[in-house]
Every structure is written in structure tokens, then in C-alpha cells.
């Protein structure tokens, strides 16, 4: 199986993550061919999940299709990269019915378009107008600071590192002052 996939899709290698889990990264235009091949020839009949991972530094989303054989002993992660701008990849709904809800999820969370999926309506976020929330550029803390307020009465929080430094400096100064005072006192006594 590995040799066939390697020859046909010109991928560099197939990772064996565990004895029951393989992973392959292919070009975007070949991914559906590979999924169909796995399904038809190697009995990977179930689509378990479609996941997405945002690699913002490399400017792409990694879309992973996880397929499982009908005896459920082997899983195959088929991964491809799509650009972050105008992200889109064809829908799998025509082959796997359950892809509809998974794509709907990703559409909402990442703003990825799936041409061919008829039902890309909102899933769990209602009237969401901001950046799709699971994109890395969406900052939850900033969103919270802009839209919600913290509990009142939380003042009095100290920056402990600064406080330690200040206290240490204070102690040092006190010590130095004490020393100085002592020296002065001894000087005075010497003078006498």
C-alpha cells in the first residue's frame, strides 16, 4: 500500500505514528484522489473526523482527514495544506454524509469555505461577526477585555517579582543606612 501511494502521489514519506495509525501529507489537488483510493482499494470506509490546524507562521492551514478501516483496526491521517487567505477546499459530502457537520464546524471556526456543502450555516456561534474564533489571529484575551469586565474588587494585586525586588532593595538600603549610622556613630564616638 505504501509503495503504491508513494509512486502515485509522489510524497516523500508515510509516517507510521503507531501500529494502528499512519500519516501522509499530499498535495492539495491529489487529496481526494487519495481518499477515494484508500476507500475503494484499502477498505478505509469511515471518515472519522476532519481536523484543521492553523500554522500562522507558515501561512497555511493543515487540513487532516482521518479515515478508518471497516474493521476499525487501522487509521490513516491524510493531510494537506491550504492557504490561509480565501481558504477553501472541496466538500466531501457527496461521499461521506457526516462530512457535512464536520465541515460546518470548520467553516465556522476557521472560515474555510467548502464548495459543494449545501449547509454551511452557523453551528454554535450565534450572529458572530468577528474573526472566526479558532484562527490564531483571534485573541481571546483582547476580545474579553473589549466586551466583558472583570469582577470588581480585584484591585490590590501586587506584582510579586517587583515587590520582592523593591523589598530587597529596601532591606539593602536599610542595612546600608544602619551600617552608615553605625559607622557614623562610631565615628562620632571616635571623635569624642
Amino acid at each position: 500500500m505504501f509503495a503504491t501511494i508513494k509512486n502515485r502521489f509522489a510524497t516523500t514519506d508515510i509516517e507510521v505514528k503507531r501500529e494502528d495509525l499512519y500519516k501522509v501529507v499530499v498535495q492539495r489537488d491529489a487529496i481526494f484522489e487519495l481518499i477515494f483510493m484508500l476507500r475503494e482499494q484499502y477498505d478505509y470506509q469511515t471518515l472519522n473526523a476532519i481536523t484543521c490546524c492553523d500554522w500562522i507562521e507558515e501561512e497555511h492551514f493543515a487540513i487532516t482527514y482521518i479515515l478508518t478501516t471497516s474493521d476499525r483496526k487501522q487509521s490513516f491521517m491524510v493531510q494537506t495544506m491550504i492557504g490561509r487567505e480565501d481558504a477553501q477546499i472541496d466538500s466531501l459530502t457527496h461521499t461521506f454524509e457526516q462530512a457535512e457537520i464536520m465541515e460546518r464546524d470548520l467553516h465556522e471556526m476557521y472560515g474555510i469555505d467548502f464548495p459543494g456543502n449545501q449547509n454551511l450555516v452557523e453551528l454554535s456561534l450565534e450572529n458572530w461577526v468577528h474573526t472566526p474564533p479558532l484562527r490564531r489571529e483571534f485573541d481571546t484575551l483582547e476580545f474579553v477585555n473589549n466586551n466583558l469586565s472583570f469582577r470588581e474588587g480585584r484591585d490590590g494585586n501586587m506584582d510579586v517579582k517587583k515587590e520582592m525586588k523593591r523589598l530587597r532593595a529596601l532591606k539593602k538600603a536599610q542595612k546600608a543606612a544602619a551600617k552608615k549610622a553605625k559607622e557614623e556613630a562610631s565615628e562620632v564616638s571616635d571623635g569624642n
Binding site: G153, G156, N157, M158, V160, E163, M164
Partner: protein
């Protein structure tokens, strides 16, 4: 839509009636109280003679529930920042990571867990000194 005559299925659930004679599982709450297991994750306690004010608890808390504040109570002489933790129970999830990272083991979770208040400000909880 269908139902059929099912003698054993009709007679076997009669066992429910036996429960009438058995001891109930519930307890009459305010009169009888359930004993909490040792090691239950309830309210925080902080032994001030041990607390060194290191703020490890504040650092590990993912909910930002812990504030380090100045105290007017007597504290450990080794407390290098002279601060002790105060916990916002509106944010705390009782994961007990703060007690795991406490170097002198002064911050602990107590078996006590019942707190009733009508003021939201009471959620800012000063751990008991014990």
C-alpha cells in the same frame, strides 16, 4: 404502536414495590449530613507561618483567579514579598494545581465546601489560616 401481552414483562417489574420496605438512599439533609472524604477539594486554606509569598500559585493558575495582596496579619518572616494569595471563587475551578506547586505546602484545599452568600464581592476569598 404495537403492544403485546407479555406476562413475564408485566410481573417482573413488581419488584419495584419491595423498595417500599427498604432503607431510602437519600438522607434528611439538614438533620443528617454526609461525611466528606479525606482529601476532598473544597475551600482553600493557607498557613501563614509557612507561606513564603512566592506567587507560584498565581503563576500556575490558568483562570487568573489568584491575586497576591499585602496582608496586615502576621506573616512568615521568610515571606520575601510580604504578599499572600487571595482567590476569586468566581473563577476558581478547584483543580488544585496551586496546591501542587506550593513549595512550603502551605496552600491546601480543605474538606469544607459549603458557602452561601448574597454578595458577589464575597467571592473574593481569603484562605483561612490553618
Amino acid at each position: 404502536m404495537k403492544w403485546s401481552i407479555d406476562i413475564s414483562g408485566t410481573l417482573s417489574p413488581l419488584g419495584i414495590l419491595a423498595a417500599m420496605m427498604q432503607k431510602p438512599n437519600t438522607i434528611a439533609y439538614p438533620a443528617v449530613k454526609k461525611e466528606t472524604a479525606v482529601g476532598y477539594r473544597g475551600f482553600h486554606t493557607n498557613l501563614l507561618v509557612d507561606c513564603i509569598g512566592c506567587a507560584n500559585c498565581q503563576d500556575v493558575c490558568m483562570n487568573d483567579a489568584i491575586d497576591m495582596i499585602k496582608t496586615d496579619k502576621e506573616y512568615n518572616v521568610k515571606n520575601s514579598s510580604q504578599c499572600i494569595p487571595r482567590i476569586d471563587y468566581g473563577r476558581c475551578c478547584w483543580c488544585s494545581l496551586c496546591t501542587d506547586v506550593c513549595p512550603p505546602d502551605s496552600l491546601k484545599l480543605d474538606e469544607e465546601y459549603l458557602g452561601v452568600t448574597q454578595y458577589a464581592s464575597d467571592f473574593l476569598y481569603m484562605p483561612k489560616d490553618k
